[in-house]
């Protein structure tokens, strides 16, 4: 039984179908693995009793022959998703012991399909960060270490707990969210698969809001097919989210093995950034060759406004955040720190409740939205965003999808990049464009670098064409034959 947590999600589904093991056994194995992984700091809460109850209920359903697509599969939930009766913190102190009285649509969809909740996963506070060092509950540690080294590495962020838990065998899959790269960059840093679907594919209802025009939920898993299965359950129209898209959810899993013959794959020249490690350049070239071998044509394309994507993002996202996070005033939920009057109570509650990076972004947001600066910063950034979306529209007339690296580096040391916010922001240079344009993007583990750390390749697709992302992602996965796992040290 000790290897049940090394299965793929798809493998676990067939194992239960063949009666090789029960959901209870599968769930208990994962709970044991979580109990043994405190050193990773991936789980903030383990819902042990509820997990076993859900597993038992799944086993009863299976005995009756009445199973959903994810029946009995133990999953981790990023602590940004509201879970009824289970504390939800968004990685922040300001929410205190906030215990939602409702369930997010995405997690409700997973339970509807039979999945089992193991607990809530650590993350950067309010999903703001690229290293998980901004969590009020301490950083998540990447299960991966460089060959022969013991230095603790970051798992990426903001969905660092999700990515670390999936890599370390603490859950078969995890929910995550991506506002500028928070699913794909941690997937790349941990040798896992992560997809941010088209904006509007997954309901945002019940997900703690960061930047509403960019936030999107998606899964982190061990394989492309697992991600397809999980996204199939998470996605779907929801009348409670006015930006949720009224579109059928296709059979994503079926698209993973689709032929790529005749597809045109764009390679944007602006993604060859200065200082990118040669190993990442080489991996990118390998990826092109793998896709050529599948019958794809590689075409050089240009996305001329790429370099402006991150600066535009760091106006738009903080502006939206400063508005969304105005709700944390210590009055209706969360922590209140009393002052001498109402204003001082607000200022103390927020000053002490929010962490450093969140305070910084709220202030940037308040500044760019303030009188006299609104047009120069905020409106200009929204115009640049339109330019970026237009770039994608133009290239997708010439190709079916884009192939890029996911991140400009492998995982780095905890504490090594904290001094310069802008250097930290550059982690998202290849991922943030898909958020600004609302497009689906998948990261697939494709190689280990010379120090033994995973690197990912990213496929960006047209809006609502996750299927092509899964098809290309599946081909990259087969060609790369990536099956490395971190040595257990924790």
């Amino acid at each position: 039984m000790s290897t049940l947590n090394e299965l793929t999600l798809a493998g676990a589904i067939s194992g239960m179908k063949n009666k090789d093991f029960s959901s209870r056994e599968l769930t208990q194995t994962h709970l044991d693995a979580i109990a043994d992984a405190d050193a990773l700091n991936a789980f903030l809460v383990t819902t042990k009793e509820a997990a076993l109850n859900m597993a038992d209920a799944s086993d009863v359903r299976r005995a009756r022959g009445d199973v959903g697509p994810l029946d009995g599969i133990p999953l981790g939930i990023k602590d940004l998703f509201c879970t009824k009766g289970t504390r939800t913190t968004a990685g922040s102190k300001i929410l205190g012991e906030f215990t939602p009285t409702y369930e997010s649509t995405v997690s409700a969809n997973l339970w509807r399909d039979g999945a089992v909740m193991l607990g809530k996963l650590n993350m950067d506070e309010f999903a703001m960060g690229s290293s998980n060092e901004n969590s009020a509950f301490g950083p998540v540690v990447n299960p991966w270490r460089a060959k022969g080294k013991t230095q603790k590495l970051v798992p990426g962020g903001s969905s660092g707990g999700s990515a670390a838990a999936v890599t370390a065998g603490l859950c078969l899959g995890a929910t995550a969210t991506d506002t500028g790269g928070s699913i794909r960059q941690p997937a790349s840093f941990t040798g896992t698969v992560g997809i941010k679907p088209t904006y509007g594919r997954c309901s945002r209802w019940g997900i703690v809001a960061f930047a509403s025009s960019l936030d999107q939920a998606g899964p982190i898993t061990r394989t492309v097919k697992d991600a397809a299965i999980m996204l199939g359950s998470m996605a779907g129209y929801d009348p409670k989210d006015s930006t949720s898209i009224k579109a059928e959810v296709p059979d994503f899993a079926a698209s993973c093995t689709r032929s790529l013959k005749g597809l045109r794959i764009g390679v944007p020249k602006e993604y060859r950034v200065e200082g990118m490690p040669a190993e990442i350049e080489k991996l990118w070239a390998d990826g092109m060759n793998w896709l050529r071998a599948e019958g794809c044509e590689i075409v050089d394309v240009s996305l001329p406004h790429t370099k402006y994507a991150l600066p535009a993002y760091y106006i738009i996202a903080p502006a939206e955040a400063s508005s969304n996070l105005a709700r944390y005033d210590g009055m209706r939920y969360g922590v209140r720190v009393d002052g001498t009057d109402l204003t001082e109570t607000y200022e103390k509650s927020r000053g002490q409740g929010f962490g450093e990076e969140v305070r910084r972004r709220i202030m940037i947001g308040a500044y760019v939205l303030s009188a006299g600066f609104y047009d120069a910063y905020y409106i200009r950034a929204q115009k640049v965003r339109a330019r970026i979306a237009e770039d994608f529209k133009n290239v997708f007339e010439r190709c079916d999808a884009l192939l890029t690296p996911t991140a400009p580096s492998a995982a780095f040391g905890i504490g090594s990049r904290l001094n310069d916010p802008v250097q930290m922001y550059l982690n998202d240079i290849f991922t943030v464009t898909a958020n600004l344009a609302g497009l689906p993007g998948i990261s697939v583990p494709a190689a280990l670098d010379s120090s033994g750390l995973p690197l990912g390749l990213q496929v960006i697709g047209k809006a609502l064409d996750e299927e092509t992302c899964f098809a290309i992602g599946g081909a990259l996965e087969r060609a790369a034959d990536f099956n490395a796992k971190p040595d257990k040290w924790w």
């Binding site: 109402l342 202030m363 339109a386």
Partner: protein, 95 residues
């Protein structure tokens, strides 16, 4: 454009975030680092471009105009720091 300690104090107040006096100047430096980096957006030709607030080209859907009684008072108050007889309790807001 760059901000000084006085401007940071104003922004912090707008955002209702308490900042200690000795943190104002270092915070101004941090914010200026970010703001200077952002200023490269001035290089982009945005003449005649409409600002983009959403990637979706649809109008906001309208729900049916019907009365609904949820009766969720207990749920709404469940996480409040202070309540009394079914109300939120907060500091005096109007003098």
């Amino acid at each position: 454009m760059s901000v000084d300690a006085k401007t940071v104090r104003k922004i912090a107040h707008l955002a209702r975030i308490e900042v200690a006096e000795e943190r104002l100047a270092p915070l101004a430096d941090e914010l200026n680092g970010i703001l200077h980096w952002i200023e490269q957006l001035n290089e982009v030709d945005v003449e005649g471009i409409a600002p983009m607030a959403s990637v979706e080209d649809v109008s906001t859907p309208v729900r049916k105009d019907v009365v609904s009684i949820d009766n969720t008072r207990e749920d709404v108050l469940a996480n409040a720091p202070r309540t009394e007889e079914g109300f939120f309790v907060m500091p005096k807001a109007v003098e």
